[in-house]
Protein backbone atom coordinates (compact mmCIF):
# COMPACT_ATOMS: atom_id res chain seq x y z
CA UNK A 1 0.00 0.00 0.00
CA UNK A 2 2.83 2.36 0.96
CA UNK A 3 4.66 1.40 -2.23
CA UNK A 4 1.58 2.15 -4.32
CA UNK A 5 1.13 5.57 -2.71
CA UNK A 6 4.79 6.32 -3.41
CA UNK A 7 4.41 5.17 -7.03
CA UNK A 8 1.33 7.38 -7.50
CA UNK A 9 3.18 10.41 -6.11
CA UNK A 10 6.17 9.78 -8.39
CA UNK A 11 3.95 9.44 -11.46
CA UNK A 12 1.97 12.56 -10.56
CA UNK A 13 5.05 14.81 -10.25
CA UNK A 14 6.52 13.45 -13.48
CA UNK A 15 3.16 13.86 -15.23
CA UNK A 16 2.79 17.48 -14.12
CA UNK A 17 6.29 18.48 -15.25
CA UNK A 18 5.80 16.85 -18.63
CA UNK A 19 2.28 18.31 -19.01
CA UNK A 20 3.62 21.86 -18.43
CA UNK A 21 6.15 21.36 -21.27
CA UNK A 22 3.42 19.95 -23.55
CA UNK A 23 1.09 22.88 -22.82
CA UNK A 24 3.68 25.68 -23.19
CA UNK A 25 5.12 24.23 -26.41
CA UNK A 26 1.61 23.98 -27.87
CA UNK A 27 0.48 27.49 -26.90
CA UNK A 28 3.60 29.29 -28.09
CA UNK A 29 3.94 27.07 -31.15
CA UNK A 30 0.43 28.11 -32.20
CA UNK A 31 1.16 31.74 -31.38
CA UNK A 32 4.29 31.94 -33.55
CA UNK A 33 2.54 30.08 -36.39
CA UNK A 34 -0.30 32.59 -36.43
CA UNK A 35 2.15 35.49 -36.06
CA UNK A 36 4.14 34.45 -39.12
CA UNK A 37 1.22 33.34 -41.29
CA UNK A 38 0.51 35.54 -44.36
CA UNK A 39 -3.02 36.63 -45.31
CA UNK A 40 -3.35 33.83 -47.84
CA UNK A 41 -1.59 30.74 -49.17
CA UNK A 42 -2.48 30.87 -52.90
CA UNK A 43 -0.58 27.83 -54.22
CA UNK A 44 0.41 24.44 -52.80
CA UNK A 45 4.04 25.59 -53.01
CA UNK A 46 3.22 28.48 -50.67
CA UNK A 47 2.41 25.92 -47.96
CA UNK A 48 6.05 24.77 -48.14
CA UNK A 49 7.84 28.10 -48.58
CA UNK A 50 5.95 29.63 -45.67
CA UNK A 51 7.72 27.12 -43.39
CA UNK A 52 11.00 28.96 -43.98
CA UNK A 53 9.81 32.26 -42.52
CA UNK A 54 11.62 32.66 -39.18
CA UNK A 55 8.52 33.05 -36.99
CA UNK A 56 6.74 30.14 -38.71
CA UNK A 57 9.89 28.01 -38.37
CA UNK A 58 10.03 28.82 -34.65
CA UNK A 59 6.37 27.83 -34.35
CA UNK A 60 7.05 24.56 -36.14
CA UNK A 61 10.06 23.84 -33.88
CA UNK A 62 7.88 24.39 -30.80
CA UNK A 63 5.18 22.13 -32.24
CA UNK A 64 7.79 19.40 -32.81
CA UNK A 65 8.77 19.77 -29.13
CA UNK A 66 5.03 19.52 -28.36
CA UNK A 67 4.74 16.29 -30.36
CA UNK A 68 7.75 14.67 -28.66
CA UNK A 69 6.83 15.71 -25.12
CA UNK A 70 3.26 14.56 -25.69
CA UNK A 71 4.55 11.17 -26.88
CA UNK A 72 6.64 10.88 -23.72
CA UNK A 73 3.60 11.77 -21.59
CA UNK A 74 1.44 9.20 -23.39
CA UNK A 75 4.03 6.51 -22.73
CA UNK A 76 2.77 6.38 -19.15
CA UNK A 77 -0.42 8.45 -18.87
CA UNK A 78 -3.91 7.60 -20.21
CA UNK A 79 -5.19 9.46 -23.28
CA UNK A 80 -8.45 10.19 -21.42
CA UNK A 81 -6.32 11.89 -18.73
CA UNK A 82 -3.93 13.73 -21.08
CA UNK A 83 -6.77 15.21 -23.21
CA UNK A 84 -8.56 17.26 -20.53
CA UNK A 85 -5.42 18.19 -18.62
CA UNK A 86 -3.65 19.64 -21.66
CA UNK A 87 -6.86 21.41 -22.70
CA UNK A 88 -5.86 24.26 -20.35
CA UNK A 89 -3.86 25.19 -23.45
CA UNK A 90 -7.16 26.35 -25.05
CA UNK A 91 -7.50 28.92 -22.30
CA UNK A 92 -3.91 30.10 -22.67
CA UNK A 93 -4.26 30.33 -26.46
CA UNK A 94 -7.31 32.58 -26.04
CA UNK A 95 -5.42 34.80 -23.58
CA UNK A 96 -2.36 34.94 -25.85
CA UNK A 97 -4.65 35.84 -28.78
CA UNK A 98 -6.19 38.62 -26.69
CA UNK A 99 -3.02 40.07 -25.20
CA UNK A 100 -0.42 39.58 -27.96
CA UNK A 101 -2.52 39.49 -31.15
CA UNK A 102 -5.28 41.94 -30.09
CA UNK A 103 -8.05 39.49 -30.97
CA UNK A 104 -11.49 40.24 -29.51
CA UNK A 105 -12.73 37.89 -26.79
CA UNK A 106 -16.47 38.12 -26.15
CA UNK A 107 -18.10 37.36 -22.80
CA UNK A 108 -19.33 34.08 -24.32
CA UNK A 109 -15.74 33.06 -25.07
CA UNK A 110 -14.71 33.89 -21.50
CA UNK A 111 -17.61 31.73 -20.21
CA UNK A 112 -16.36 28.86 -22.38
CA UNK A 113 -12.85 29.37 -21.05
CA UNK A 114 -14.16 29.07 -17.47
CA UNK A 115 -15.94 25.79 -18.29
CA UNK A 116 -12.74 24.37 -19.83
CA UNK A 117 -10.77 25.32 -16.72
CA UNK A 118 -13.39 23.61 -14.51
CA UNK A 119 -13.10 20.44 -16.60
CA UNK A 120 -9.32 20.49 -16.35
CA UNK A 121 -9.42 20.99 -12.57
CA UNK A 122 -11.77 18.00 -12.17
CA UNK A 123 -9.60 15.54 -14.07
CA UNK A 124 -6.08 16.68 -13.19
CA UNK A 125 -6.41 15.81 -9.50
CA UNK A 126 -6.97 12.13 -10.36
CA UNK A 127 -4.63 9.27 -11.13
CA UNK A 128 -3.02 9.59 -14.59
CA UNK A 129 -2.91 5.85 -15.33
CA UNK A 130 -5.67 3.22 -15.16
CA UNK A 131 -5.55 0.48 -17.78
CA UNK A 132 -1.79 0.01 -17.85
CA UNK A 133 -1.03 -2.05 -14.71
CA UNK A 134 -3.36 -4.87 -15.68
CA UNK A 135 -2.95 -4.76 -19.46
CA UNK A 136 0.87 -4.58 -19.42
CA UNK A 137 2.04 -7.97 -20.69
CA UNK A 138 -1.42 -9.10 -21.68
CA UNK A 139 -1.97 -6.27 -24.13
CA UNK A 140 1.22 -6.73 -26.13
Amino acid sequence: MDHRAHEHARLRVKTWICAVVVICANVFGNFFLKLGMPAELPTPLAYITVLFRPTVALGVALLILWLLSRMALLSWADLSYVLPVTSIGYVLVAIVGRVLLNEQITSRRWAGILLIMAGVALVSGGVPQTAREKSHGAGQ
Partner: protein, 120 residues
Protein backbone atom coordinates in the same frame (compact mmCIF):
# COMPACT_ATOMS: atom_id res chain seq x y z
CA UNK B 1 -13.83 26.05 -47.04
CA UNK B 2 -13.37 26.88 -43.37
CA UNK B 3 -15.56 23.97 -42.24
CA UNK B 4 -14.02 21.57 -44.77
CA UNK B 5 -10.57 22.33 -43.33
CA UNK B 6 -11.89 21.85 -39.79
CA UNK B 7 -13.36 18.48 -40.84
CA UNK B 8 -10.02 17.35 -42.25
CA UNK B 9 -8.17 18.55 -39.14
CA UNK B 10 -10.58 16.79 -36.77
CA UNK B 11 -10.48 13.46 -38.65
CA UNK B 12 -6.69 13.46 -39.09
CA UNK B 13 -6.00 14.58 -35.51
CA UNK B 14 -8.28 11.94 -34.02
CA UNK B 15 -6.69 9.12 -36.02
CA UNK B 16 -3.20 10.50 -35.33
CA UNK B 17 -3.61 10.89 -31.58
CA UNK B 18 -5.22 7.47 -31.06
CA UNK B 19 -2.34 5.88 -33.03
CA UNK B 20 0.14 7.94 -31.00
CA UNK B 21 -1.36 6.70 -27.73
CA UNK B 22 -1.36 3.07 -28.97
CA UNK B 23 2.24 3.34 -30.15
CA UNK B 24 3.48 4.90 -26.92
CA UNK B 25 1.61 2.40 -24.80
CA UNK B 26 3.21 -0.50 -26.66
CA UNK B 27 6.59 1.16 -26.08
CA UNK B 28 6.01 1.50 -22.34
CA UNK B 29 6.85 4.20 -19.80
CA UNK B 30 9.84 6.42 -20.65
CA UNK B 31 11.85 6.59 -17.41
CA UNK B 32 15.28 7.74 -18.55
CA UNK B 33 15.50 11.35 -19.77
CA UNK B 34 19.25 11.51 -20.47
CA UNK B 35 20.01 12.51 -24.10
CA UNK B 36 21.43 9.11 -25.11
CA UNK B 37 18.45 7.23 -23.75
CA UNK B 38 16.03 9.66 -25.43
CA UNK B 39 17.88 9.12 -28.73
CA UNK B 40 17.62 5.33 -28.37
CA UNK B 41 13.92 5.58 -27.54
CA UNK B 42 13.35 7.75 -30.61
CA UNK B 43 15.22 5.33 -32.86
CA UNK B 44 13.02 2.53 -31.53
CA UNK B 45 9.84 4.58 -31.92
CA UNK B 46 10.71 5.54 -35.52
CA UNK B 47 10.16 1.86 -36.39
CA UNK B 48 6.87 1.58 -34.48
CA UNK B 49 4.08 1.37 -37.09
CA UNK B 50 1.52 3.10 -34.87
CA UNK B 51 3.93 6.00 -34.32
CA UNK B 52 4.64 6.23 -38.07
CA UNK B 53 0.89 6.25 -38.84
CA UNK B 54 0.34 8.94 -36.21
CA UNK B 55 3.07 11.20 -37.63
CA UNK B 56 1.59 10.89 -41.15
CA UNK B 57 -1.93 11.70 -39.91
CA UNK B 58 -0.67 14.64 -37.86
CA UNK B 59 1.26 16.03 -40.83
CA UNK B 60 -2.01 16.05 -42.83
CA UNK B 61 -3.70 17.78 -39.91
CA UNK B 62 -0.84 20.31 -39.67
CA UNK B 63 -1.06 21.48 -43.29
CA UNK B 64 -4.86 21.75 -43.11
CA UNK B 65 -4.33 23.80 -39.94
CA UNK B 66 -1.92 26.15 -41.76
CA UNK B 67 -4.65 26.73 -44.33
CA UNK B 68 -7.20 27.38 -41.58
CA UNK B 69 -4.94 29.92 -39.87
CA UNK B 70 -4.88 32.09 -43.00
CA UNK B 71 -8.71 32.24 -42.88
CA UNK B 72 -9.57 32.66 -39.21
CA UNK B 73 -8.44 34.12 -35.89
CA UNK B 74 -6.24 32.02 -33.62
CA UNK B 75 -8.82 32.15 -30.82
CA UNK B 76 -11.36 30.60 -33.23
CA UNK B 77 -9.09 28.09 -34.97
CA UNK B 78 -7.77 26.34 -31.88
CA UNK B 79 -11.03 25.75 -30.00
CA UNK B 80 -13.01 24.89 -33.16
CA UNK B 81 -10.78 21.89 -33.72
CA UNK B 82 -11.43 20.59 -30.21
CA UNK B 83 -14.34 18.40 -31.35
CA UNK B 84 -11.60 15.76 -31.30
CA UNK B 85 -12.13 15.63 -27.52
CA UNK B 86 -15.43 13.81 -27.67
CA UNK B 87 -14.24 11.40 -30.34
CA UNK B 88 -10.96 10.66 -28.61
CA UNK B 89 -12.42 10.15 -25.13
CA UNK B 90 -14.95 7.67 -26.54
CA UNK B 91 -12.20 5.90 -28.52
CA UNK B 92 -9.94 5.86 -25.43
CA UNK B 93 -12.69 3.95 -23.65
CA UNK B 94 -13.50 1.47 -26.44
CA UNK B 95 -10.24 1.05 -28.38
CA UNK B 96 -7.58 1.73 -25.74
CA UNK B 97 -9.72 0.16 -22.94
CA UNK B 98 -8.94 2.92 -20.48
CA UNK B 99 -11.17 3.04 -17.45
CA UNK B 100 -12.84 6.40 -18.04
CA UNK B 101 -14.47 7.09 -14.65
CA UNK B 102 -17.35 9.56 -14.14
CA UNK B 103 -14.88 12.32 -13.17
CA UNK B 104 -13.16 12.08 -16.56
CA UNK B 105 -16.48 11.93 -18.45
CA UNK B 106 -17.68 15.00 -16.54
CA UNK B 107 -14.38 16.80 -17.19
CA UNK B 108 -14.53 15.95 -20.92
CA UNK B 109 -18.18 17.12 -21.06
CA UNK B 110 -17.29 20.46 -19.42
CA UNK B 111 -14.39 20.94 -21.84
CA UNK B 112 -16.66 20.23 -24.83
CA UNK B 113 -19.32 22.71 -23.61
CA UNK B 114 -16.60 25.30 -23.03
CA UNK B 115 -15.11 24.72 -26.45
CA UNK B 116 -18.56 25.07 -28.07
CA UNK B 117 -19.08 28.42 -26.32
CA UNK B 118 -15.63 29.67 -27.34
CA UNK B 119 -15.90 28.72 -30.99
CA UNK B 120 -19.49 29.63 -31.89
Amino acid sequence: MKWLLIGIIVAATTVGEICQAMGMRSHGEIRDFRPGAIGRAMALLARNRFVIASVVAMAVSFFAYLGLLTLTELSFAVPATAVTYVLETVLARYILHERVNWLRWLGAALVVCGVALVSL
